[in-house]
């Protein structure tokens, strides 16, 4: 095994382990922080898979913005320190069964379909900023423009939501 492979396996293990902690931990903020670890190691995986720019976008957007947003929301909606035992619904076992079934189907499909395909990273093109820029702005312009409409819609939606007056005063009241 080359050291790229070693690194890949290590990062994958970290990603999967911390992802498991995200969905099982009994503390809201810990879940968000484990999500940071997961996303960070996935960014590492992207780096190894020659997707340089995507990896750093992952860090900037996910770790820098989305997780901050999540932490922010958690702080606003009451996330005490210490364990919380009521974070899971009562139907944990069916949920686990469904998840394991999904995983089994996916894994068996993937392994059956690609078990003899080798990923030749030596010849892969590095997705540097200029390569990404070239492809997006030469070949993917239309989806890119549509994206801006989507973002505008989302932004207007969020603003409208934030301007909604609650019918009943919130329990804890506003400051």
């Amino acid at each position: 095994m080359s050291w790229v492979q070693v690194l890949f396996v290590l990062l994958s293990l970290v990603a999967v382990a911390s992802a498991l902690l995200v969905v099982t931990t009994s503390n809201l903020v810990h879940a968000a922080l484990w999500l940071v670890v997961t996303l960070g190691s996935i960014a590492g995986v992207f780096l190894l898979l020659a997707a340089e720019f995507v990896a750093w976008v992952q860090v900037l957007i996910y770790v820098g913005a989305v997780v901050v947003l999540l932490l922010f929301a958690l702080m606003l909606t009451r996330a005490p320190t210490g364990r919380q035992d009521d974070l899971n619904v009562g139907r944990v076992v069916p949920a686990a069964i469904v998840a394991v079934l999904v995983g089994a189907v996916l894994v068996s499909t993937v392994v059956a379909g690609f078990h003899d395909v080798q990923l030749d990273l030596e010849r892969a093109v590095v997705g540097s900023a200029s390569v990404t820029g070239g492809t997006v702005f030469r070949l993917w312009v239309l989806p890119f423009e549509v994206l801006s409409v989507l973002l505008l819609a989302a932004l207007v939606g969020a603003i409208v939501l934030s301007k909604l007056r609650a019918d009943e005063p919130a329990e804890a009241g506003e400051d």
Binding site: S12, V22, Y62, V98, A124
Partner: protein
């Protein structure tokens, strides 16, 4: 390395995400499960991009688009979650039943609090 390694990673992350979405009752935690699923998809995109080496770079470009859309999605979802918190004082998804079928009126009035 074999192509199925990153694909395996993606599958595992996806099923963990599925579990998170189904098993958690705090809305923010459900959203984290969704994020895991989206990331699993991204891993697959990037792996196939490295494998196919197409000049179009569809894999990486789509991963980029997915990240952007995921950011927009989670922002909007959290806006809704905060609105729910403001009106209900909690964000437990299994107690938000105003739009559900009114099968158990007694429980519903209790849940509405």
């Amino acid at each position: 390395m074999p192509l199925w390694w990153p694909l395996l990673l993606g599958s595992l992350l996806f099923s963990i995400g599925v579990y998170g979405v189904l098993a958690r009752r705090n809305a923010v935690l459900v959203l984290m499960g969704v994020e895991l699923m989206l990331n699993a998809v991204n891993v697959n995109f990037v792996a196939f991009d490295a494998h196919l080496r197409s000049a179009v770079h569809g894999g990486q470009t789509f991963a980029l688009f997915v990240i952007v859309i995921a950011a927009a999605e989670i922002g909007l979802a959290l806006a809704i979650v905060l609105l729910v918190f403001r009106t209900h004082g909690h964000i437990e998804v299994d107690e938000l039943r105003e739009l559900g079928e009114a099968a158990e009126p007694a429980e519903r009035s209790e849940a509405a609090r």
